[in-house]
Amino acid sequence: MEKTATFSIAGLTFDWNVVISTLVSMTIVFLLALWTSRKLVMKPAGKSKQNMLEWVIDFTNNIVDGSLPNKTGNSLKFFIFSMFLFIFVGNQLGVAFMVDVGGNTFLNSPTANPLVTMTLALIAITISHFLGVEKQGFKNYFKSVYLSPFSVLFPLNLIEQFTSFLTLGLRLFGNIFAGEMVLSLLWQLAQSAGVISFVPAFLLTIIWQGFSLFIGAIQAFVFVTLTTVYVSEKTE
């Protein structure tokens, strides 16, 4: 986790870890969505894959409707759906796979990297501010976001906006990073004393993986829910 292999193109530096993990999770998301959306029918049978996809869509749509039951919410539904799927799959990726070559991590949860989560948070927060301006006009947006309830609180509000961006990204990163950290510690424990440590570490790993699956789902849910809340704060 600490060291990564990098490569540069046109003066920009890329981590192999970020590139591979992001691409793998996005590919999984896309293939899942593609697989579940083939041969659509008006009335899908009880346990069909179409129902699964529709359940996910309903789930994310309900998250949006929870805080944004209006037109803004409708336009946001697809973004929330994509964001939820990507974060969810990304969170689970590192639970099952972590490829480490020569101390360099190549494949893990993309969301265990602060740059990735901050980028996602940046996208979400930018969208919320953009929609705020688009919905209320710049003047009202500025007034309601930075000068309420009193204009004296402007510095505080400014900090609040910044911290909400920071916490949105860091919360996700912290949870997933900590989960992976514990998993790699358990792997070290398993290696430490042969069979005597391997068996208990194996059992602990199973337990921790189960917990990580849960955490990953919760964090994906929290991220998109907070995104809709931030949008609703700025558009109303």
Partner: protein, 171 residues
């Protein structure tokens, strides 16, 4: 965690490459998802919602129609029953009237026949009586002639004729 960001930022120019990569990759993912999964599925879901709403409307309409038809039918049934009752009672009255007529006519007929019969009987009896009377008269004349022929002598005959002639002369 801060450390990592700061380190990454310090060493690699704010790690712009990674962030740009994630951003672009996410945009591409969104495009692909919209094109191949979200678009068709949401379209299908909307179509289904529309169909369900439409079907509900149609069902409501059909139910109303059925109710209307049932009401109409029961109304028709009621009126038919009333009509039938009317016809039966009419027929009953008509039959009663006809019966009375027939009975009255029969009675009158019987009366007339009876009267005619008794009149004929009376007539025949009187005719028979008249016939009997005539015969009795003839018989009595014959008997009288026979008696008179036997008893009437010439002188007496003469005296009788004279008396008759005299009577003619007096007249």
């Amino acid at each position: 965690m801060f450390n990592q960001i700061v380190l990454a930022g310090a060493s690699e120019g704010l790690a712009l490459g990674n962030m740009l990569f994630v951003l672009v990759a996410f945009l591409v993912l969104m495009l692909l998802l919209k094109r191949y999964a979200w678009g068709p599925v949401v379209k299908m879901m909307e179509k289904r919602a529309e169909k369900v709403a439409h079907d509900l409307d149609t069902a409501e309409e059909a139910r109303q129609q059925a109710e209307e038809m049932a009401a109409k039918r029961s109304e028709q049934l009621q009126s038919a029953r009333t009509e039938a009752n009317g016809i039966v009672s009419d027929a009953k009255t008509a039959a009663g009237k006809q019966r009375d007529q027939i009975v009255a006519a029969a009675q009158a007929d019987a009366q007339a026949t009876k009267e005619q019969a008794s009149a004929q009987i009376a007539h025949e009896r009187s005719e028979a009586m008249a016939g009997v009377k005539g015969e009795v008269a003839d018989l009595s004349v014959t008997i009288a002639q026979k008696i008179i022929q036997k008893e009437l002598k010439l002188d007496d005959q003469k005296a009788l004729i004279d008396a008759y002639i005299e009577g003619l002369g007096n007249k």
